[in-house]
Each structure stands twice: as C-alpha cells, then as structure tokens.
C-alpha cells in the first residue's frame, strides 16, 4: 500500500500544500503545543532563530519565550533540566542542534532519564529531537547516526521516521508518550521529501514497522534515509523481475520483530540496510532477530549493508564511498535473489 493510499484508506483529508519532512515536524510541534500547554521546547537557538535547521521556525513568535526556550550551550544541563520538568508534569521537547552533540548529554539520558521509571514507576514524558545522518558533506562531527547506542539502552524509545507523514505522526506520538523518546530526524530528508499531509492532527503509533512495498523474492529492511535507497533499488530490480519487499522499521525500540520476521518468513531472504555503522549496531540486531526467529525459513544468508566502522568522512568521494548506495543495495539483493 503506497503512502497516499494509506492516508486515503484512513479517510484523511489532505492539505492543499505539500509539506517537507521538516515542515511536518514543525507542524507536529505546533499542534502539540496548541493542544497541550505543558509542551515546551528547549535547546540551542530554537527561539528567535528558529533552530539551526529552522525546524522550530515561527514557534517562538506564536508561543513566546516561555515555551520556546533558548538554552545556554549545555546539552547535559538542558537535557537534565528537561528530565526535571518532565518529572514535575511538563512535557519537554528538547532539540539537540545536531545528533552528534547528543553525546554531550549522554549520561543524563542513559543514567537519569532511562533509569527512573524502572526504579520508581514515575513517568518521564520527554522527547529529544536529534537531526542525524550523513550525505550533506558535513563531516565527522555533523553527520552521525547514533541511534544504535540508544537502541541498546533499556528505558528509552528510539524512533527514526522516513517520511513527512511518519515524521509528523510519530513526533506527535512521541510527545504523548510517558517515556523518554529519542527522535532521530534524518537531516538529509529535511527538504528533499514532500508530500501532502492530512489536515487533521493524527498519530502514527510507535513500535510498528511498515511494509512499504510488497514483494516475494527478497525482503529489504531499512529505515530513515536509507529506506529511500532501498526502495529505489527495489524498483530498479522489478525490471529484472526480482520482486523485493521493503520493510520500514520506523521504531528501533520497541522493535516490531513480528513484522520484520513475518516478511522474511514469506520471502525467505533478507537484506538489512542501515546508516548506523556496521559492527555492534542496528544492522546486527536486525540480522540477529531474523536469524533467531526465521531460521527455518531462510533460503540464504542475511546480508548486512551498512557503512564501515569509521568516523564519517567529509570529502564527497569519501562520503559517497562511506554511505551505502543504491548500486550496493541492488547488487546485494540481486546476488541474494540468485542464491
């Protein structure tokens, strides 16, 4: 079912204008803030400036300095403060300027936010938005995909939408969550994707993967910016009569193992495509999940496609070599299909 079909099926009336992935996030923030006065934004340059990527544009004018807070430059400080506000019943949405800088607030996330509920049962309704991902010639400090670290951390939910529709709907769900959610926005997609979104507010539930494209020969599992390369590869292979199913993971934690495994049980073959680096990362978990649960259905080895275990290089030829490309995905699928 295509995205448009999906929305139509849900009986949603669409906006006349197309929205980018970035617009979609902005809409979700605006809606959530309109609906619930407990929702506020905190981060660096999110106020007057509207955020480094302009995701919070217009929100300061609409909601004022009280609800769109320009913090001093201190990731640990403002993430910790957001935890405190969340414990006191507000619903903070933190913007980390680039996902790379989330490492500066690491301990507050993994040792404070993630471990409170298990010990006390108190909800920590906190969202941390982090623009992640490479492809923009931004080098080792502005291109990271740190979702693997967080997915490995119990107590966090980890989300990585691939489309404007999902970005808006999943951010909405994240803000309604009673748990800390790390919301990875792929910055390569910010202005590259456009679609008409529903007029009405809606939510896309966390923890549900989605079959983006049906097929019978090979399942490709991906998310974020890589999903689009996977789809492109799948479409290209249709011409060669290889029928590829593409599954969008969407939420890393909780992982919808059922949908992934279900698809692989059908096709018998799986390629996993991630932007998170190769070893000990998301690709490993997806592979292990399938190998455990679909062992008897596998007609070939599960293939992992992910960047090498290096920092992310800047120079175009290096960055292009670093990132999985459509040709790599295509070749892997084709080889596996013929296995």
């Amino acid at each position: 079912m295509s995205i448009t079909e999906q929305k139509a099926a849900a009986g949603m009336e669409l906006q006349s204008q197309e929205s980018t992935y970035l617009d979609a996030i902005n809409q979700a923030l605006r809606e959530a803030m309109e609906e619930d006065s407990r929702v506020f934004i905190i981060g660096e340059d999110v106020g007057v400036y509207g955020g480094a990527f302009k995701v919070t544009k217009g929100l300061f004018d609409k909601f004022g300095a009280k609800r769109v807070i320009d913090s001093p430059l201190c990731e640990s400080g403002f993430i910790g403060a957001a935890v405190g506000a969340a414990l006191m019943g507000l619903r903070p949405v933190v913007e980390v300027q680039y996902a790379d800088f989330i490492s500066c607030g690491w301990d507050q996330i993994v040792n404070v936010a993630a471990k409170i509920h298990y010990r006390t049962g108190d909800p920590v309704p906190l969202v941390i938005r982090a623009p992640s991902g490479a492809g923009l010639r931004a080098g080792p400090f502005h291109s990271q995909s740190p979702e693997g670290w967080f997915a490995h951390t119990p107590g966090l939910k980890v989300v990585a939408p691939a489309t404007p529709f999902d970005a808006r709907g999943m951010l909405k769900s994240a803000i309604l969550e009673e748990n800390p959610v790390i919301f990875f926005e792929h910055k390569y997609l910010y202005r590259r994707l456009k679609e008409r979104l529903p007029k009405e507010a809606y939510e896309v539930p966390l923890g549900k993967a989605l079959v983006r494209r049906e097929g019978n020969d090979v399942t490709v599992i991906s998310y974020g910016a890589m999903l689009h390369k996977a789809i492109e590869a799948a479409e290209g292979l249709a011409e060669k009569s290889i029928s590829v199913e593409v599954v969008d993971v969407r939420t890393l934690t909780p992982l919808d193992r059922e949908t992934l495994v279900g698809s692989v049980k059908k096709t018998g073959k799986a390629v996993v495509v991630c932007e998170d680096n190769f070893s000990y990362g998301v690709a490993a978990e997806l592979t292990a999940t399938i190998s455990e649960a679909a062992f008897e259905y596998l007609d070939g080895p599960i293939v992992r496609i992910a960047p090498p275990d290096t920092p992310i290089p800047f120079s175009p030829p290096l960055e292009d070599a670093y990132l999985p490309q459509v040709v790599d995905i295509t070749a892997a699928i084709e080889k596996l299909a013929r296995y």
Binding site: A81, P92, Q108, V112
Partner: protein, 319 residues
C-alpha cells in the same frame, strides 16, 4: 523568622531519628544482614535537617548517595528506607535500587542516582516547571564538595542563573570526596565563592549548626520564592564515617576526627536546647523512645517484607 518551639523540637527529633537510623544500618551492615552498600552521613545531621526542614509541602529536594537524612523532614518513612536496604518489595524501588538510591516523588523527593551531581540540572528543571506554571514551589539540590568538580554542577548553576529559576543549590562540604581531600578537589577555600561566577548569591554556613543552616536555607528559599532566583549554600561539616561501609577511613588523621567529634551537631544542638527554659530531660527521653521504636518497627517491617518475585524483573521499564 525565629523557629517556634515546635519547630525546634521537630528538628531535634529528625536529627535523632537520622542518627539512630544510621547507627542501626551500620550494625545491620556489619552483621551482614543487608545485601548492599551503606553511605553514612553521621556528623552531617545539622546540614541535612536544617536545610530540608526549611522547605514546605510542594517543594522538592534532590539528594545524593549520602543524603538520606534530608528525606526525613520531607516525610520519607524509615520503614520504606529500611526495606530498600533489605532489597524488599516494600521499599520505594521495590527492590530494584540499592542503598539510599531512592526517593518518593509524592513527597517531593527525587529518586537518587549515583552519578554526581546529575540531579543538579534535574532540580533546575523542576524549578523551571514551577516557574512555568507560576507555582509557589522551590527545588533544593544537594551534593558534596567532590561533586562540585563535575560539569553538570556548572551547567546547572549557570542555566538556573540565566533563567532565574527558584532553586537552591546546597553543597555539603565534608572535607573529603571519598578519600580525596578538598585540596585535591579545588584550589579555593570556599565553594560558595563560585556563586559570583554565575551572578547569584553564595553563602558559607557552619554545617554543624542546625539553626545557622536552617536560617541560611530559609533565606535562600525565600529568594527563590520571591523570584530573585537561585542561590548557592555551602555547609561546612565533616563526614564522621568512611565513604561507604567497607571503607577503613584511614586516610583521615585520627586527631582530626576527634576534633570534629567535639563539634558533634547533635550534642551541640542539645546544649543549645538545654539552655532554653522550656526544654527538659523528659522531652529528650520521650523523643529517644519514639525514635527507638520507629527504628525497631522499621527493621521488623523490612525483615517481614517479602523479597521481590524473580518474574518481576522485566516489568516496568516503560510506563
């Protein structure tokens, strides 16, 4: 605002309760009757009770590992604390947390984490929530001298100062961070002097004088309540036990401990109380008996409580 007779006696009671609780805890630890670690605040009773008692219902505190006593005036039940030490399901973390890594949000006590002082920013965030909603509430965060060296300490003070948040940062300078003396931790004599670097008031008080601590905290809390923002208080005191139960505490000269023993905050407060015309030995006896019973009940409660069921291990990671 001079404390009333009732308030004076309340503070006395909590100091006795804290002391007695810790003494029992120490004995249980030595007897191997509790499975985890203990971090005792003996000698710091005045700093804890004087400060925590200055708060009102609705205010919140953020303690660190040694600050259990600050929870008492906030209404934390010794039964529940004892059950935590036993790893029993009746403790505030249902056996999940150890030692005094606990709290009770319904009583305005943040749950304690070990990473120091991670709840400094968290307390600032609580204060942000109070200000956001226009509530008359204050947050107070504790930490030790050692914890002031960490980045989160700085980030919290600066953030709270810039946002003018109703929070009090309370540092218990007990001369040591584990085995590390002040001179290996900082090059300054008074931590309170750092306040100027954030543009907020800072004040050093005698941490063994419960009334001085109480007065200083009331003033800082009043500052916070009246929208004059955060402040920093440094209470100078001495830890009279090792860092944790297993610490032989041989890095501190005996003489120094003997010196400090003379400044024992409870003895000192008793001397003060004895000088008041209404105070007499009967009152002391009554309190001592009450405290003794409470501790006994706490141990009985903890021992009678069930351990958690192993099947619970995976529940409650998420809400």
């Amino acid at each position: 605002m001079e404390p009333t007779k009732e308030q004076l006696m309340d503070m006395y009671y909590y100091m006795l309760l804290g002391r007695a609780f810790e003494e029992r805890l120490e004995a249980l630890y030595r007897q191997g009757r509790i499975p985890g670690a203990i971090y005792l605040g003996r000698g710091q009773e005045a700093s804890y009770i004087g400060s925590a008692y200055a708060l009102k219902t609705g205010d919140v505190i953020a303690p660190t590992h040694r600050d259990m006593m600050a929870m008492l005036p906030r209404g934390m039940d010794v039964k529940s604390i004892m059950a935590q030490h036993y790893g029993k399901v009746t403790g505030p973390t249902r056996g999940r947390g150890e030692a005094d890594y606990l709290g009770d949000l319904s009583k305005g006590i943040f749950t304690t984490v070990s990473m120091l002082p991670d709840f400094y920013p968290v307390a600032a965030g609580a204060a942000l929530a109070f200000k956001y909603r226009g509530e008359d509430r204050v947050a107070l965060a504790y930490c030790g001298d050692g914890a002031t060296s960490r980045g989160d300490w700085h980030e919290a003070l600066n953030l709270a100062a810039v946002m003018n948040l109703p929070v009090v940062f309370f540092v218990i300078n007990n001369k040591y961070a584990y085995s590390t003396p002040n001179e290996n931790e900082m090059k300054i004599a008074d931590i309170a002097d750092r306040a100027a670097g954030y543009g907020i008031p800072g004040r050093t008080v005698d941490g063994n004088d419960v009334l001085a601590v109480h007065e200083a905290t009331l003033a800082a809390v009043d500052n916070a309540r009246t929208e004059r923002g955060p402040s920093l208080i440094e209470a100078k005191t001495m830890r009279m036990r090792g860092h944790a139960g297993h610490d032989p505490y041989d890095y501190v000269p005996k003489a120094s401990l003997e010196e400090w023993e003379k400044k024992d905050p409870i003895k000192r407060y008793e001397e003060y109380l004895t000088g008041l015309d209404w105070f007499n030995d009967d009152e002391r006896e009554v309190l001592a008996t009450r405290v003794g019973n409470e501790i006994k009940d706490a141990v009985d409660f903890a021992e009678a409580s069930p351990l958690p069921d192993p099947s619970e291990v995976t529940t409650g990671v998420y809400h």
